[in-house]
Amino acid sequence: MKGLIYRELYLARKNIGVCAVIYVLFFGITCLMGLSMRYGNIAKYATWETMASLLFILPSSLIACAAILIVTSAEAVFNVSSNDFKTPWMRYALATPAGIRKLVGAKYLTYLLLTGAALLVTGIAHVLCLSICQIELSARFLLFYLFLLCFSLLCMSFLIPLTFLIQNGDVVNWLAAVPIFIGVIIFNVYAIKIGNLEDDTDFISFLNQYLSPVLTKLANGVLKALFWVLLCLIITAIFIGSYFLSVHILDRIRYRKGKTSNAGKEAKQ
């Protein structure tokens, strides 16, 4: 497993590099913007109302940074998978003692490692940036991070098994666009609205308003926490189930023609 994860990370290094450059640029601009708002010309001439709304842009930008990193983690996994299906790697890997479970597990673990690292980096950067700019850290942004993670896990739970089902390098590469596309829509439609919310309760109400009217009742205290715990548990269960589904798909494909091997092609010659 160690070797397989190392391979995935090594092959994903270009994605990670590009992502790091974008992140540093975006984060740098965000920090400069924050410092300018707090200490620069904007701070000197803006009214308190303008300042308040401007200061809200800053954490939103940081959340955008997190979204970029999470989506890139997914993209890295798809790019490596695409490469796997374009070369005879799967055939070779199935002939090694790694076995199907480890082969599939490496993909899931790599994704989790990259996403975990992305959240850690953005989390630390978020706290640093806000403390430099002396902006209070709001709990609702932590919830937004959690929401991002859940969204990403849910997307990957469906898309990773799909890659094993399709096993076509070119199509798999396009799958990476799915979470990006959905993410961009969600971010564009809801981010500004979320940014304008007053507090955490409003954030939950906001989600409830769009997700399900029944959830509105969960907007307080323990119930609110329970909602998130339940959501996390359900998505974790779906993610684990997705792993077993991928193992099953790859195992079933071994019975089929021309998927993990060129046996069918040879037979038809």
């Binding site: 090594y10 005879p88 002939a95 040879e266 037979a267």
Partner: protein
């Protein structure tokens, strides 16, 4: 672990649309090189993929080192290595990274041995595989296959497309590998001359069925090519030959029992044969054409 045959295949069956690997049975004795011969689409790759459990068999039994290859999959695969006709590693890697990857896959990965093979094959340690030639890529595959203490080497057309110098280098290495009494090789190839040099046993497969399996020397000794005129050909009992090739000058027939043919047709020329000729005659016989014309 005591076992007589490195690989035992019994009634292996795999069905595809338009092709069936039909109750294939043969053994690869421990300490030997088995050549696996057949034309394109004969079922060599399907058999090898079934042995490696890359594809699942429909029926039959495959034992490797005396163990079932599915229920003891990991144990068995630790001790075997596969070499394919194409480089399976991403071209973005180099040998240094590959060694780290394979060290995490095989328990007994030996980096020093890998490096010594790289030196022997004059392969660079830090150059990307995308810059390797076909020969270098195959050498790399072989180096990685031999660096985790494998006892069984399974090769699918590994020497195809290589120049004679590299092929010879490979054959020397196979003979070196087989010096250890527990080591065995199963190699499929179109290049029958290579197999004639190194194989102890050969198995012929055609259209999913095993035509012939046994010791190479016995097969070569038993078979012979009978050369005669067209008039003599008409007198020969069809039961005595496998198939025949008619030319403008006469006929050439592959006989199954050279000693018997020598007695029965003492007036005719009877030559020794090669694996390639045996394959051609058997394939021709399988097409239900007892005679065929050569250009």
């Amino acid at each position: 672990m005591e076992y007589e045959n490195a690989i035992e295949i019994k009634d292996l069956t795999k069905r595809y649309d338009g092709f069936t690997l039909d109750h294939v049975s043969f053994n690869v004795p421990r300490g030997s090189i088995m050549g696996f011969i057949g034309q394109n689409g004969a079922g060599k790759t399907t058999t090898i993929h079934s042995i490696l459990n890359v594809i699942r068999k429909d029926e039959g039994e495959i034992k490797i080192f005396g163990l079932d290859h599915e229920s003891h999959e990991i144990e068995v695969k630790e001790q075997m290595a596969a070499v394919f006709d194409e480089l399976p590693f991403p071209e973005d890697l180099n040998a240094k990274v590959l060694s780290r990857i394979l060290a995490g896959i095989y328990k007994e990965w030996d980096d020093q041995r890998f490096q010594s093979y790289l030196e022997r094959f004059q392969l660079p340690y830090k150059k990307k595989f995308s810059k390797f030639s076909k020969g270098m890529k195959m050498k790399l595959q072989l180096a990685s296959a031999l660096s985790h203490n494998a006892k069984l080497l399974v090769m699918d057309e590994a020497t195809t497309g290589l120049d004679p110098v590299v092929r010879n280098e490979f054959l020397d290495l196979f003979l070196e590998f087989i010096q250890e009494e527990n080591h065995s090789i199963l190699m499929s190839s179109h290049i029958t001359s290579d197999l004639e040099k190194v194989a102890d046993y050969v198995t012929f497969i055609d259209r999913g069925k095993i035509l012939l399996t046994g010791m190479k020397d016995e097969i070569l000794d038993q078979h012979g090519v009978l050369k005669c005129s067209k008039a003599d050909f008409a007198q020969i009992d069809p039961k005595d030959f496998i198939s025949a090739r008619l030319t403008d000058f006469g006929a050439e027939l592959l006989v199954r029992d050279r000693a018997k043919a020598a007695k029965t047709y003492s007036g005719l020329v009877l030559d020794k044969t090669t694996l390639e000729e045996i394959m051609l005659f058997y394939v021709s016989a399988g097409k239900n054409t007892k005679t065929f014309s050569a250009n």
